[in-house]
């Protein structure tokens, strides 16, 4: 089988997260597994493909989920797809989160907008062995209350005793009673031993930039900050050249990078 060709994956459920975001549950036609943080290329047959990090539990083998924001030609078509439709997928590609290295550590997870999708998969991977971690603080920011994804899961995310979940919105509406402000406003007074703590940041580039700078300011080591970088990966195999970042290809050497490894490169936030 040619390396660039997709396999079939059939939609078995669709969850409307927000007016512009949907989560698709797929049943892959052939065996598929991924490590949390790795990405796949999802194909709309005959039209095009786009890279996504699955948002589901990597331990679940018979199905996987992808959370898609409607932003372009291909994602708009995904949003029009119905249960029972067959799309294409290939992957997984790249390196995921080094979960084993997080053992016995304290973790801070910072997510922005649809950036919670890859983090949701990480959260499952961590919760599957929750006692391996001393403490986990999850900070999530969305643009507005209606832009919050996985509303129905947030209570589950808060359940483990060693987890603290913080939530904020940039702009509140009349119904909102929680925090207001960008996600970095949640990062003060963290109940963590910051010098040794692990940071994981995922979200839009501008949010990643300011969250990372905030983490550094708080005293996180650049060697402990993990970033999910994104570019327009086309092949996913380090061949097509689109996603170069310094000496790396994001598809092959990432998409998860340790901040220390990329901090001296030009234009990492562009």
């Amino acid at each position: 089988m040619n390396l660039y060709l997709p396999n079939k994956a059939t939609i078995t459920n669709i969850i409307e997260e927000t007016p512009t975001i949907k989560t698709f549950v797929f049943k892959p036609a052939s065996a598929f597994s991924f490590k949390t943080g790795q990405f796949i290329e999802l194909t709309y047959p005959g039209i095009g493909e786009a890279p996504f990090t699955p948002s589901s539990d990597p331990n679940k083998k018979d199905a996987f989920e992808v959370t898609v924001m409607k932003v372009g030609k291909v994602t708009e078509l995904f949003h029009k797809a119905k249960i029972g439709d067959t799309l294409g997928m290939r992957g997984p590609y790249g390196n995921g989160y080094p979960v084993d290295n997080f053992k016995d550590k304290e973790l801070l997870i910072v997510g922005g907008g649809v950036g919670l999708a890859p983090l949701r998969s990480l959260i499952y991977a961590l919760y599957n062995r929750i006692n391996d971690f001393k403490k986990i603080v999850i900070c999530y920011g969305a643009r507005s209350p209606q832009d919050i994804v996985y509303k129905y899961l947030l209570e589950d995310f808060k359940k483990p005793k060693n987890v603290e979940f913080r939530l904020t919105v940039d702009r509140a509406d009349n119904t909102w009673k929680g925090n207001v402000g960008i996600v970095t406003t949640l990062l003060d007074k963290l109940p963590l031993n910051i010098k040794q703590a692990i940071g994981v940041v995922c979200g839009p580039p501008i949010m990643m930039k300011f969250a990372s700078l905030k983490l550094l300011e708080l005293g996180f080591s650049p060697k402990n900050i993990h970033l999910s970088m994104e570019k327009n990966m086309s092949c996913g195999l380090g061949k097509c050249g689109h996603c170069r970042l310094g000496k790396y290809y994001i598809c092959k050497d990432g998409p998860v990078f340790i901040f220390n490894d990329i901090k001296d490169m030009w234009d990492i936030w562009d």
Binding site: G72, T75, T86, G88, G238, C240, H242, D267
Partner: protein, 347 residues
């Protein structure tokens, strides 16, 4: 046992190509107003003095390629006849082919590329002259092939000295024995002498360029990130992409999905970083949104990224980018200016 050097007479060479036409589609450069273009060989062979306009890589990764159909396809893969290219020059082999091999064969193997690399036959040839934009010598490369060919021909008295460069080359000789005789020492010496003369003439052309020493190129690009030259040069860029399409070391491509009578298929088309949408993501963000960023990116990729990855410059000095650029953006001038700017900054 076939010796490394053989001799073939001028009028036997087309006969060899005729024989090869049974197994290969034979391509050779054809001259049109002092430029050479790759054309399918139709019985008339003419030795090409210097490189073609377009790069050799088109025979390993075609500019547009139908990769394969997917999902419920009845299509049967068509048998592709391998290609024999006659007259490949050093600037299309050497580092150019090494880095294409690295991209398409290392890690996950691109089977279509692998197949073409294994099946195609490369008959290289010496340059006996050079174009105005040629500058391989300035990068320490020679205007005659030294590696990665199956056979190489060098014009000598009334024929060609033939050097065997691979097992496939040996097999080709073995099945066409009647055309070849052992090359005499005089003939071998004649080749050395011809090469020396070409290199000397070439050196005279290169000298006035004041091209920096090749060992400096990496640091000139590294330290030249904020140089004003990128803006000044890029202002003239019309984003035609000629520098990419004609470059022997460019390799970027875009996968695309479409339909034909056999159903959905995945295709591949050459892409490149001088195009505005090369790094554009859904939603509109674009890491290389300015022409100056894109121009600089091309040099970073060739003189920083590839040295970091495989310890070689992804440039062979063919000068095609300078030759084909309607805005006269010239790699030789870019390096000269970077060098001058960085030298004057030191003072």
């Amino acid at each position: 046992m076939i010796s490394k050097y053989l001799y073939i007479k001028n009028n036997d060479f087309p006969k060899l190509l005729d024989n090869l036409s049974a197994d290969y589609r034979v391509f050779a450069p054809q001259e049109t107003r002092k430029n050479y273009f790759w054309k399918e060989y139709k019985g008339a062979f003419q030795f090409s003095k210097y490189r073609t306009i377009t790069p050799l890589r088109q025979f390993f990764t075609p500019a547009i390629e139908h990769i394969d159909n997917y999902f419920a396809s009845n299509a049967k893969p068509g048998e592709k006849k391998p290609i024999c290219m006659v007259g490949a020059k050093a600037c299309d082999l050497g580092n150019a082919l090494k880095m294409q091999d690295y991209v398409f064969l290392e890690g996950d193997t691109d089977n279509s590329y692998k197949q073409m690399r294994e099946q195609n036959l490369i008959i290289a040839s010496d340059c006996t002259a050079f174009k105005e934009t040629c500058f391989c010598l300035a990068l320490g490369n020679m205007p005659y092939p030294q590696e990665l060919f199956d056979l190489n021909i060098s014009p000598v008295d009334e024929g060609y000295l033939l050097e065997v460069g691979s097992k496939k080359g040996q097999e080709t000789i073995a099945s066409n024995k009647s055309f070849f005789s052992e090359a005499s020492d005089t003939i071998v010496k004649q080749r050395e002498n011809n090469r020396k003369i070409t290199v000397e003439e070439f050196r005279c052309q290169i000298q006035p360029l004041e091209f920096p020493k090749d060992s400096l190129l990496n640091s000139l690009i590294k330290n030249g990130y904020g140089d004003k030259l990128w803006t000044e040069e890029a202002l003239r860029c019309v984003e035609c992409g000629a520098c990419i399409m004609n470059c022997p070391t460019c390799h970027c491509f875009l996968l695309f999905d479409t339909k034909d009578e056999n159903g959905y298929f995945k295709g591949r088309i050459w892409d490149g970083c001088q195009y505005k949408n090369f790094t554009r993501v859904a939603g509109g963000a674009n890491a290389l949104r300015l022409r100056e960023q894109r121009l600089r990116n091309r040099y970073i990729k060739k003189f920083e990224f590839f040295p970091e990855r495989i310890k070689l410059y992804a440039c062979t000095g063919c000068g095609r980018c300078a030759e084909s650029c309607p805005a006269k953006i010239d790699i030789r001038k870019i390096f000269k200016t970077l060098n001058e700017n960085q030298n004057s900054a030191k003072k």
